[in-house]
């Protein structure tokens, strides 16, 4: 039953949204590899395109958006961008699990969790529905819940942390091995956050998953992710092993983000907010570096030429200033 954790290769992915000003890119030319069995974290501000990127993994970008270029190759499944209709539907849930933000109501309010579990099983042609229920109960029990009781509950009878665990259960119960968690701990209290992250880490290891965590909270990434990718204005500006990126950030945006974190010890004023505001879909530059408006290292070349993502050791950075320094 248990498969090898699959790898995921996102290559040159561009997602555009149709607006009155034409089709504007929310994600532009993003390439990212999720190594089999790894946890990758994507951090970015609101509007950086991280959720759009997450939905692209299931080829589920909602209209008026669409994937206009690139591919998402998943081992054992092929290019998800090319999947249509029933093939795509069956891939969702069975191969790729998606866990919603805890604050979102991802359950039908009129049906018990158990009935929705059966709907899920029937949708995917599961013949042994009893086995499915048993598996769900075990998963919930594994996450510290009374499985039988939760399956018999409606959404409004569950707390935020319980709902999130139900979401994780529904994402995994069909034995999906690629799991996308979109803001898994947003709107949860600190204790529950820590609990959920612990569960994510443990379940990830036990079931042999390849996991992608989307968050705006660097703390969450530091907690769970092996690798970290930083998004800004629809571009991936820096990626690498979590420790290295957080320990010695190279891209000016990553540096700015880390400088903005207040320390537990020392002067609170040492934390410096990044000046300026992130671009929106309409204000993001059409050419050149997306970060230049807020960048201290801005050069002439930044206005016209897109910085390419350059591999530097274990790290990939897309910045003219960093690249120049390396080559100088």
């Amino acid at each position: 039953m248990s498969k090898q954790a699959p790898g995921v290769r996102i290559d040159g992915l561009t997602v555009v949204y149709k607006t009155t000003a034409g089709e504007l890119p929310a994600v532009r030319d993003v390439s990212l590899t999720l190594e089999p069995g790894s946890i990758t974290g994507i951090v970015g501000e609101s509007g950086s395109g991280k959720s759009t990127l997450a939905l692209s993994l299931l080829n589920a970008v909602q209209p008026p958006g669409r994937i206009s270029a690139g591919s998402v190759e998943i081992d054992g499944l092929g290019d998800v961008v090319g999947l249509r209709g029933e093939q795509l539907r069956k891939a969702r849930g069975k191969h790729i699990g998606y866990v919603f933000q805890a604050a979102q109501n991802s359950l039908n309010p009129l049906k018990t969790v158990g009935k929705q579990l059966l709907d899920l099983g029937r949708s995917h042609g599961v013949e042994d529905l009893r086995g499915l229920v048993r598996e769900a109960r075990e998963l919930l029990g594994r996450m510290g819940l009374d499985g039988a009781r939760v399956l018999d509950s409606h959404q409004h009878e569950l707390s935020g942390g319980m709902r999130q665990r139900v979401g994780i259960m529904l994402a995994l119960v069909l034995n999906a091995h690629v799991v996308v968690l979109d803001e898994p701990t947003t709107a949860l209290d600190m204790i529950t956050q820590a609990n959920i992250l612990k569960i994510v880490r443990e379940v990830h290891a036990e079931r042999g998953l390849t996991t992608l965590v989307i968050t705006h909270d660097i703390g969450v990434v530091a907690e769970v992710a092996d690798r970290l990718a930083v998004m800004y204005g629809g571009r991936l500006v820096e990626q690498g092993p979590t420790r290295e990126v957080l320990g010695s950030p190279r891209h000016p945006y990553t540096k700015g983000l880390i400088r903005a974190i207040p320390r537990l010890v020392g002067d609170i004023d040492e934390a410096q907010a990044l000046p300026g505001r992130p671009p929106t879909l309409a204000t993001v530059p059409k050419q050149g570096c997306v970060f230049r408006e807020r960048c201290a290292l801005r050069m002439d070349v930044c206005d016209d030429v897109d910085p390419e993502a350059v591999l530097q050791g274990t790290r990939t950075v897309a910045c003219h200033a960093v690249t120049v320094k390396e080559h100088a």
């Binding site: 589920a60 998606y98 919603f100 979102q104 109501n105 949708s123 409606h154």
Partner: protein, 336 residues
Amino acid sequence: MTVIARRLAGHLARGVVMILVVATISFFIVRSIPGDPVAANVQKLIEQGMAPEAAEQATRVLYGFQPKGTLWQQYVDYMGGLLTFDLGQSVTHAGAPVTDVLADAAKWTVLPVLAGTLLSFLVGIVMGVYAAIRRSGKLGDVLAISGSLLHGVPQYVLGLLLSAIFATLIPILPADGPVDILFEPGFNAGYIGSLVEHAVLPVATYALAAYGGWILAMKSSVVTVLGDDFILAAELRGMKRSIIFRYIARNAILPLFTILALSLGLLLGGAVFIERIFNYPGLGLLLIESITMRDYALMGGAFLLITMAIIVANIVADLFYSVIDPRVRSGEEVSA
């Protein structure tokens, strides 16, 4: 199940209290309307040249009506009668019991209104779902515009229009009462056929008048549900389309059941114009008639019946809601 039974008991108790309050209010309001039908009749007879004594006597014989006691005494008698479903006697219907007169009229209101409302509800919600799903296309526009237009036209205008077109311009349907008097009332093909034929226009009027509201309400409800997170979540879990459609439909239809139950209650009294246009001797016409004739007992009875319909509709809506919506159900459990 016990939760629902307890709920029902609570509602019934509240309903009975409400009905008693309404009966009291309508009793006093009706009697505070100026004018006295018996005195009016006596006056009329005197003017026709009858002696006062004889006129009074004749009036009493005519109505079978003996005003007795004070207002308080009348009230106590009235409420006492209520308990045995005795609403008194109608003055205008030559002493027939009010309950009989009401029951007779009710059948001409309840059946067409029920048929029209259910028809418009079914067609309206189905069209509403399409209007929502195809809201960015031509079909959606056409449906939404048809809904807005029909919703904006008053019921009586629709009734007049249908009557003018189908009973006068192209006389293919009757608009002259509930049934053709040629047929023997009873369970025979001719009579029932005639009933149905005569019901077409009024039922169509009720249906068309309500249809616009249903389609618009259902459309907006479906659009709201479509934007809910759990629909996207179901899609991302790879749920079958048919299952997702059921999720949408069941969640979207929920608020409409309340409106349905309430409108059924309201329509009982709101059919005055339609009944006049199509000559249906229903409750609406009866109410108007009782007011112009100052038939106290009948007036009070009609008010009471209309109020009771609304109260019962409320109870039904609420009970039904607790059956179909688990959130309402468990809310009761907690407080019990």
